[in-house]
């Protein structure tokens, strides 16, 4: 709540600052810059991309044993960096909590944020979303020896079931869409919702299927999928509003990674983090218009 307030206050004061900066820029600009500069030009001139992402959510953005940031979100940033500089490693990471995703974009702390950001109408009023790079859905994970066999058993148990879930404004509604009577416990971070299941505080974890798949792959035979998925949501990187040139560039880079010359990069990343092979895009008539 507080953060969104700050974000709004920031917006207004930032605009004032922006106007000021723009006037100064106009005064100082020589004939070399006759057109309004895009973030694209700034980033190219700077020589590296400033990417906002988190560091505590596998398989999206997390640290390897040797302290390197990795994950599917990070790879999306690397795709854009490769398109910019021909080198996926030319990135300066800004580590941010989920709450900081939008403020850090609107205050220019980052060029772009890729941090499993669900596209919503409200958010799209504050930042500009690039094209989707993943379609997420929610699943339920149970302990391997759980008294509930599957989704039907969970639903039948009604209010006796406690579901642990990642803290979010729509977390409660999300769980209740599948289990209308279940008790919902919200936690700050992903490891805590698993901890709640492990310690018996909850009977099931409801979170992104990608995260569940990753977790079950890391802990074979200890957990099971309840076999039900719902709540589709689109993940997309976001940039600041009002810079179509930069947004187009990010879109193009991601689009070609999913359908064109960089498909192998995307497919390799997908295989690494989600364990599935992607069929290459059909050659001939563009897949986008099927």
């Amino acid at each position: 709540m507080y953060i969104s307030n700050t974000g709004n206050r920031m917006n207004t004061s930032f605009h004032t600052g922006g106007i000021l900066a723009a006037s100064v820029f106009l005064l100082l600009s020589t004939s070399a810059y006759s057109e309004a500069a895009s973030k694209l030009d700034d980033v190219l001139a700077r020589g590296h991309l400033v990417l906002g992402t988190g560091s505590t959510n596998a398989p999206w953005h997390f640290k390897s044993v040797d302290d390197k940031l990795q994950g599917f979100d990070v790879d999306m940033g690397r795709i854009v960096a490769k398109a910019l500089f021909g080198d996926p490693d030319k990135i300066e990471y800004v580590i941010q909590s989920s709450d900081a995703r939008i403020p850090n974009i609107t205050t220019d702390k980052v060029d772009m944020t890729c941090q499993f950001m669900t596209v919503t109408g409200e958010r799209a009023q504050q930042v500009a979303f690039a094209i989707p790079y993943y379609r997420e859905g929610v699943g339920l994970m149970l302990k391997g020896d759980s008294q509930y066999a599957d989704f039907a058993a969970l639903k039948a148990a009604g209010s006796a079931v406690t579901v642990s879930v990642l803290q979010n404004v729509y977390a409660e509604d999300m769980v209740h869409a599948a289990l209308p009577e279940a008790k919902v416990d919200q936690y700050d971070s992903v490891d805590l919702i698993y901890q709640a299941l492990e310690s018996g505080r909850s009977d099931a974890v409801a979170t992104d299927q990608s995260s569940l798949a990753w977790y079950m792959a890391q802990n074979p035979d200890r957990y099971k999928d309840a076999g039900y998925g719902w709540n589709p949501q689109t993940y997309a990187c976001a940039v600041k509003r009002g810079d179509q040139d930069w947004l187009n560039f990010v879109n193009t880079a991601l689009h070609e990674a999913m359908t064109g010359v960089e498909f192998d990069f995307y497919a390799k990343s997908y295989k690494t983090w989600f364990g599935k092979d992607l069929p290459p895009p059909q050659i001939g008539f563009p897949v986008e218009f099927k």
């Binding site: 700050t6 505590t56 390897s64 302290d67 900081a100 490891d191």
Partner: protein, 219 residues
């Protein structure tokens, strides 16, 4: 495969140490800067003229009445809105130092005002200037008064440094969370981080006790 805690701790040793190092440096910087600033705040509150007292009182009350997290976020985002653009580390240290200064200021004021007025009058009567009165009569007594409370505030600063993880400062808590997101051993690693915080704060407490002993009136 059940990874042993010791293997995981050993794997993460450098990450944990760098987090601990950052936590200690954040805390030290914030406590030092906050204490220096806080002494000025305390002096202004005690000996300032009416206007200075009013301004400093408003500052202290606003800062003390604001959650540290709010100060941290404000310092990070407001600075960039006014064009200073502090990096997360500096913004965080600034917020903690400001918060620390308001507490130290109140502690100093309390310590000074607890000294009976008669002493100042007596010092004046034997011809001491205000500077001499302060240095030889008031300050040594006030110091003993506020040391325990100051140690308390210093320990609070170490704990408040965890809030910097929100703006992406890789201090001990964020480092711990990063490790947990990889190996999911949340209980063990949070417990370990808690133990490290205890060690740091216990060190501060021992240091405070040591200074208290050194400054105690010999009996």
């Amino acid at each position: 495969m059940a990874p042993s805690l010791f293997d995981q701790l050993w794997l993460a040793r450098n990450v944990i140490l760098s987090g601990l190092g950052l936590t200690v440096s954040i805390s030290l910087l914030a406590i030092l800067a906050g204490s220096v600033l806080g002494v000025f705040v305390g002096l202004s509150l005690t000996y300032g003229n009416r206007w200075l007292r009013l301004v400093v009182r408003v500052y202290t009350d606003i800062i003390r009445g604001t959650p540290v997290l709010v100060l941290v976020l404000a310092s990070y985002y407001v600075s960039s809105a006014v064009g200073v653009n502090l990096d997360p580390f500096s913004a965080g240290v600034l917020a903690l130092a400001v918060f620390c200064s308001s507490h130290v200021g109140e502690i100093v004021r309390g310590g000074l005002q607890a000294i009976p007025k008669g002493q100042t009058e007596a010092a004046k009567a034997i011809g001491l200037t205000f500077g001499q009165t302060f240095a030889y009569v008031l300050w040594p007594q006030a110091l003993r008064q506020f040391l325990p409370a100051w140690v308390n505030t210093a320990a609070e600063m170490v704990k408040a440094s965890t809030l910097l993880s929100v703006i992406g400062v890789a201090e001990l808590l964020l480092r711990t969370q990063e490790i947990i997101s990889r190996n999911f051993m949340s209980l063990q690693f949070y417990f370990f981080a808690g133990a490290l915080y205890f060690v740091v704060n216990y060190g501060i407490e021992r240091f405070g006790k040591y200074v208290e002993r050194k400054t105690a009136v010999p009996s």
